[in-house]
Point group: C2
Chain length 192, copies 2
DNA sequence: GTCTATAACTGGATAGAC
DNA sequence: GTCTATCCAGTTATAGAC
């Protein structure tokens, strides 16, 4: 069992708190309390709050890329892989119900703060978008692969937002079923 | 030309700032600067920040109800009325691109703050949900009118979130077209 | 109803001892 | 690498003059 570095502990704690409480609402004390270090020590590892945010985003990018790579292997067909994506809504439903989607909510918070790291945060969306686009290309939807990728991404965002607002996990299941049906229909038609 | 009361001016300014900057990020000074009153005077009108938030939500509820009533009159058929709803995305696209949906983003922010007025904010979602449900009932979709209402609501949320993240107004137009097509198809089939 | 002054507190950030 | 002590700016909120 390796010892986890303080820096890593800070990133993990901040990652979670930024999701659950929002970036701005999370203070250095909040993070320091979880990691059980003093606020002063904090500054040895990160000089500014933005530095922590940058590290958290970087951490999420790496985790996301690893997840996409895993789906790439797990799914036998492009359709199966897209359904892997759709199913994260089910897997993460209890947290989504409480806090929404980690990607969408951070992106929106930073947009309202007019924060300089907004573009970096939106990179997470691009990872999903490009990956989905690739799958739709393989599905033979060459002419509108990007449009379909955006549609599936928008679907996931809408479901997360409403599941959060109405505190409703069942709604997630219902909509995922609808989306799977739509994806299956897509295979057999060429409708835009 | 009637003089607008200071109280009303505060509510209008707060309404806008909460949308553009978020609730927590907006300070009393921000609002006071716009209304051009001192921070001290502020407390004559509202004792706490939560009181302003409550007034802003109440204000939005009234505006929303008026808008729904207007659509009720403007649209000749239930389908036309639902399309009125979908088209707010087009009408408000420039602001949505910058700040997302005012309903969804406030709801999510308050959820993360674990704020006591979260339920009041979510009432805005319920207004739309119930109104849409009514239209789908009239469309003859008795058995899943609520599920369809939620689907259309989720659609609007997803589109707003992605339009904001990717700074893309065109995406809004594209998805609205897709939704209108889907609504038209719904009339002729009984597919869930 | 509006103002100034100020209290009470919290947040991010620094300096320097250990 | 970790700590305590401290600074400074910004925020909510109050008291009291005009």
């Amino acid at each position: 069992m390796n010892k986890v570095s303080t820096r890593e502990q800070i990133i993990t704690a901040a990652d979670e708190l930024f999701y659950e409480q929002g970036f701005e609402h999370t203070s250095f004390s909040d993070i320091a309390n979880i990691v059980e270090i003093s606020r002063g020590n904090f500054y040895y590892h990160f000089k500014t709050k933005d530095e922590i945010l940058a590290a958290v985003i970087q951490h999420r990018v790496i985790k996301t890329q690893a997840m996409l790579d895993k789906w790439e292997n797990d799914g036998d067909t492009p359709l199966a892989r897209i359904i892997c994506f759709v199913n994260i809504l089910i897997t993460n439903r209890s947290k989504i119900k409480l806090y929404g989607c980690p990607v969408g909510t951070l992106s929106n918070e930073l947009a309202k703060l007019d924060h300089q790291l907004l573009n970096e945060a939106n990179e997470l969306f691009s990872l999903f978008r490009d990956w989905l686009k690739k799958q739709f290309l393989l599905l033979g939807q060459a002419s509108h692969s990007d449009s379909l990728a955006m549609h599936v991404l928008a679907f996931s965002q809408g479901v997360a937002t409403l599941a959060n607002a109405f505190n409703d996990e069942n709604f997630i299941k219902q909509e995922v079923k609808r989306m799977e049906q739509w994806l299956n229909d897509l295979k057999t038609t060429t409708k835009v």
